[in-house]
Amino acid sequence: MTRLIKLYPPAWRRRYGRELAELISTQPASFGTAIDLIAGAVDAWLNPQSSTASTAADPKGAKPMVSKMVQLRYAGDGPNLTAADHLKAAAVTIGGTLALVLPLMWAIVRYGKDPYLISFTTVSWLVPYLFNQRYTTLKGRSGRVQAVLIGGPAAIVIAIVLAAVWLSNN
């Protein structure tokens, strides 16, 4: 169970990891504890400002980590989001949705009520919505991080749609 502590940000682990491991060792391992730790790790990554861990002493790695955490914090609704960013995000969401929905609707009219086309039309807003994070929550993150955090959920959505339609047809 203590392995789940590795999911926490390094600075957070340096500050609280030892204490957390000590506390975990006093409790029986359970699914609920695992979920609680995973949720705590997600929170620690998303809200680095909510702990003093970013200032924990570590002469070797503290500065880069503080920098990354500040970057992560400001990547959300932080003060460096401009009106232009919000406009870009809205444009990507609306424009992307229209760009996907209209051809899909045309295809439904042209080729009939194919369940794959109908399903993709229904969730087509979600993919542009994920992409708008480039200008909001993921602004300032590296291209690789953006690719993983946008492409991953988008791939999952597409896989779910494909699986759901396949299952309903078989």
Partner: protein, 110 residues
Amino acid sequence: MARRDDVADLDEFGRFGEPALLILVSLADGPKHGYAVTEDIADFAGVRFGPGSLYGAIARLESRGLIEALEAEDRRNPYQLTAIGEKALRARLTSMQAVARVGQRRLANA
């Protein structure tokens, strides 16, 4: 209202608000480390928070100066209330008492 300003810190804790309040109550009678806080809360409130929730709340309380870590004992860091934490706890408990009084009065008249 000044009282609302005092309790604003705990209001900002989101899902960590309840564990944060109970941690403050637990520390009100003296410093404790994580395990002792968990056991104490289980005793007086009947809830047992997971380690992730407990330390999520402890991290928030510490970052806002409501609690502070003392020197480590063995592998455990005890925490104690700060003056700010005590003030926030008093304000929150006063607010809760007022709500409880209103609720009980209304139930009595129902």
